[in-house]
Amino acid sequence: MKVIHVKMLREDKVPTSEEQLVRAAREGDRTAFSALVKRLEPRVAATVIGMLGDTPEAEDVGQETFIRFYKALDSYRGESSVSTYVTRIAINLSLNELKRRKRRFSLFSNTADDDIELVVDEKTGGPHFEDGEMIQSALSKLSPGYRAVIVLRLLDGLTTEETARMLNIPIGTVLSRLARAQKKMRDILKPYFGEKS
């Protein structure tokens, strides 16, 4: 039978860096793992909510990200930073969730996944929306591949190289997706800019 060891660190040995927290968590220190969750929540939230919107599924995917991370603690070798490692789990789980969503709604919608050509309705283009909501709404209309590069590059602040590594695609693809996604977002937000200017 698997026994769960819970070891508490002494006050004078509180780990500070993410790597130290990982080492402590690997030894069964729940407090250290809890500290890691607190520390990594902003990055995971930005990734998952950016990809899925502020929905209940986003919270589930966020939790699942940390559970997967905990189970993979032993296999984490430190080749990439802890936050990069966790972001990779978060983006993969988010993409899986979007695939599930697509399957779920494919019977009711005939929108092709790669088609980011979308018509702006009066509601999303209206001036009563706050900037953030408008942009989030435009973001949600991009297909998963395009959304992922925008989220990693602009919301998480990764470099194009890091984004490429994270998604396992060439840098050229990241650049072209970024350009197309931004152009599409600008097209979606045309009425909004028109109202403002």
Partner: protein
């Protein structure tokens, strides 16, 4: 608007342009109002995106994660217990079955002249000659 310049503008946000490309873009920006507007719009979209990134889930997220982790571990433990019980229960049965199988194979090989798989499994076929040469009495006298 020139398509090439537009592509250059979009690329300039995320990639390092060559000296020549940078110069061409700067010149175009200095003369084209449409390109300037495009740059402002993209800049503002990028700013709003990074400024409005949601950086937290609902309150007490960490506590919910830790609870979910405990539940996941309890499930793992109960799964382990289930498979361990299954293993414990079937182990003696499996040992007895293996012993019986070895005994059966040994008996089959003892009765047979060949050492083949068919003989070991007791599936050796008699040839037609053997079937006809065997006296009826011998067959009838064989214990059932």
């Amino acid at each position: 608007m020139n398509r090439e310049l537009l592509d250059l503008l979009y690329r300039s946000f995320d990639a390092d342009l060559t000296e020549e490309e940078r110069q061409r873009l700067d010149e175009a920006l200095a003369t084209s109002e449409a390109l300037q507007t495009e740059k402002e719009r993209i800049t503002s979209i990028r700013e709003v995106l990074s400024k409005n990134a949601t950086d937290s889930f609902k309150p007490l997220f960490t506590e919910r994660v830790m609870r979910a982790l405990e539940t996941a571990e309890e499930t793992d433990v109960s799964t382990d217990v289930f498979f361990e019980s299954l293993y414990r229960f079937f182990r003696p049965v499996a040992l007895a079955a293996a012993a019986a199988a070895i005994l059966l194979v040994s008996m089959n090989l003892w009765d047979s002249d060949d050492i083949t798989l068919a003989a070991a499994l007791g599936m050796q076929e008699d040839s037609i000659e053997v079937m006809f040469e065997t006296p009826l009495e011998a067959i009838l006298e064989e214990p059932l």
